[in-house]
Amino acid sequence: MHPGALLNLRRVLALPAIAALSVLAACGSESAAGPTDHSQLVVGILAPFTGADAVLGPAYYAACLPAVRVINAAGGAYGHTLTCQKFDTRGDPADAVPAAQQMITNNPNLMVVVGCTSDEASPVVPIMDRAHVPHFCMTGQSEFNKSSAKYFHRLVPPDEFDAYAMVGSALFKHNFKKIALVFGNDPGSQAFVDPATKAITALGGTVTINQAITLGQPSYRTEVTKMLKTHPDVIFTEALGGTDATYLKEVKTLNGSMIPVMGTSATIDPAWFSAVKDAIGVQDLVNNFTAVDLGVSFSGPGYTEFKTNLDASKDQFADAPKYSQRGSTLHLYDGIIMTALAMDLAKSKDRTVYNPKIIDIGNGTTGAVEYHTYKEAQDAINAGKAVRWVGAGGPTNFNQYNNSQQGYILVKYDTSGGEVQYDTLSQAQTNQVITAGGG
């Protein structure tokens, strides 16, 4: 065969090959005209759904359902519809690590993970970071105050800030000086003890007793008797999974009446309310219990969109509407929306590409306009505008460590379990307690 003929033959064969490669490349690329890949992506809820902290997982699942509903109704995140999938950590690092590994291995289409409480954040954050999975954690552990994990995000303050807010509320608002610390012996609850102790002592208060109680025991009568003998003005507590219900019922029985109790933001929870209400009676709970919570207004167009879609999610999760005023539910909802908008902005489903954009969406870039509903924000992005997401939980202010926080409100329950704000800590009071606690 003539060499020139061979060259021509090669050229002829190359043409369809180039055409085929072009088609394949177009299929795989995320062009400016929009994605051609519309595969469904997974929002993982990595949290305790069983075990002593099993009440936490449903609150985060309740965040995912309305977010996915809103995003899918708008055509998805960069054209990808989403679905929520639960991954149970049992609130135990030993179970959380394999759960996280299986979640990542079995779900290459993972978009974002929410949950990861203080029970399991320490071991699972590095796993998710290595796998380049953006995640929003509901942990208050101080080790994440300056985390180097690029894919880690936190929309809640460190636990010690919960403790500082409780101390501020007790000392400045209620004039309680003698404080009993009754926290579960799980790592998440114990994180409050040291900062609370330091702040109380430094501001002239007294810790009458510090009890680390084993969760899920059938009785705490001896512990309660011991605590009552110290005659505290108030009990600071976070002991989840029914433990507070049992403990406080025994306080009421052995003391003859309730004494004031102050809880962390995790005690503002429908499951906690229900258990404690059944144990001590709704009136005693309403009259004697206060808590601190994340500064959320529960109003505005972002909250309305969240609430509407949360209520509509009750077909998938009957208890979903109960989480309408749970700070963590609102914040994780915002986390998922911000991630979806980051995909819209990056025009990519590649996690390494859209992860940095989450900060841009949360904080807004120069000239950004605030948006409160997903569809409007998505349209603005598609129109080339800079967007700042201010959703159900209010504005986000990520620092260099992807931490964002908004301060505290002082709250109590009404008789139906709704959260009622009765006061707030001023910035000066908050700073005073933080300084006293060494924060």
Binding site: F49, T50, G51, A52, A54, V55, G57, P58, N185, Q211, A212, I213, T214, G216, Q217, P218, S219, Y220, R221, T222, E223, T225, K226, K229, G241, G242, A245, T246, K249, E250, T253, L254, A271, S274, A275, D278, A279, D319
Partner: protein, 294 residues
């Protein structure tokens, strides 16, 4: 001193609940040769059956009976449908442990799907408190102690004075010989599962009444204490389980008073380990009602 007296009084309540559960568990093992790790799952299931009745408007005391009946029937069926076929195939004791563990996990997860993870409570009369010096107990707690005493006496009477009790002891000692002597061992074993299942159900419901709140997740926690009491007293020995319950119940409360709530289980289980080192067969081995002759 008042604190220790109060803790001793609280220990009476704890040991009562443990005793009812541990006697049922140890009789199951002693007579049927099954270490039934699904015991706590049957227990928590019974708690929820009583809860369903209670929240349908039935008094807690009638709901307690419903829980006991459920525990009895469920345990009976568990043995007939699951354990007996495995035993007939010659499954080893360790194999049966694995089967019962798997069964436990299945029951718990099905129950979790039905009942959810949330804590719930019985509707029960507060009934006021009874003070005896430093000891302060509610009326319900006093009744729980009373129920435990009555049940322990009934078990003692059953094993000591009735033909059924003697048949149980014979079956426990040597099932083949008992069968050759004309004892219908399979029927005896059926009755044992019914009786121990009822004890399991009652223990669960009184535990729920005592703690005021419960969730599906409480099940595994029960098992550890039950096994500890049974092993401490001598596995398979009802009186041993009673003694084990007394020691575990009182030690946990008194150590919470003396040291710290952090260490109450540590102290109780440290004593268990110590006893196992000094007397591996348990405190009352070969002395209980189910012990082999000689």
């Amino acid at each position: 001193m008042d604190l220790y007296i109060a803790a001793f009084g609280f220990g009476l309540v704890s040991l009562s609940v443990i005793a009812i559960a541990a006697v049922g568990f140890t009789m199951q093992f002693g007579i049927t040769n099954v270490i039934n790790l699904a015991y706590s799952s049957v227990m928590i299931s019974s708690v929820y059956v009583a809860y369903a009745f209670n929240h349908a408007g039935v008094s807690i005391w009638l709901a307690l009976i419903a829980g006991a009946i459920f525990g009895a029937v469920f345990s009976f069926l568990l043995n007939r449908v699951l354990y007996t076929p495995f035993q007939r195939k010659g499954t080893s004791l360790l194999g049966m442990v694995i089967v019962s563990l798997a069964t436990s996990l299945m029951i718990q997860n099905v129950l979790l799907a039905i009942a959810g993870p949330y804590n719930v409570s019985y509707v029960q009369p507060s009934g006021g408190t009874i003070r005896l010096g430093a000891i302060v107990l509610t009326v319900v707690q006093v009744l729980v102690i009373g129920i435990a005493v009555v049940l322990m006496l009934a078990i003692h009477a059953l094993l000591t004075f009735t033909r059924l009790g003697k048949a149980m002891r014979a079956t426990a000692a040597n099932p083949t010989l008992a069968r050759n002597c004309g004892i219908p061992t399979s029927r005896v074993i059926d009755v044992v599962w019914l009786i121990t299942g009822a004890l399991c159900g009652i223990a669960g419901v009184v535990a729920g009444m005592n703690s005021d709140t419960f969730a599906v997740g409480n099940g595994p926690g029960y098992l550890i204490t039950i096994i500890a009491a049974a092993v401490l007293g001598g596995a398979g020995q009802p009186y041993g389980a009673m003694l084990g319950a007394v020691l575990i119940g009182e030690m946990t409360e008194l150590s919470a008073a003396a040291i710290s709530a952090d260490y109450k289980e540590v102290v109780a289980f440290a004593v268990l380990v110590l006893v196992m080192v000094l007397r591996p067969q348990g405190l009352l081995a070969k002395r209980g009602a189910l012990a082999a002759a000689g």
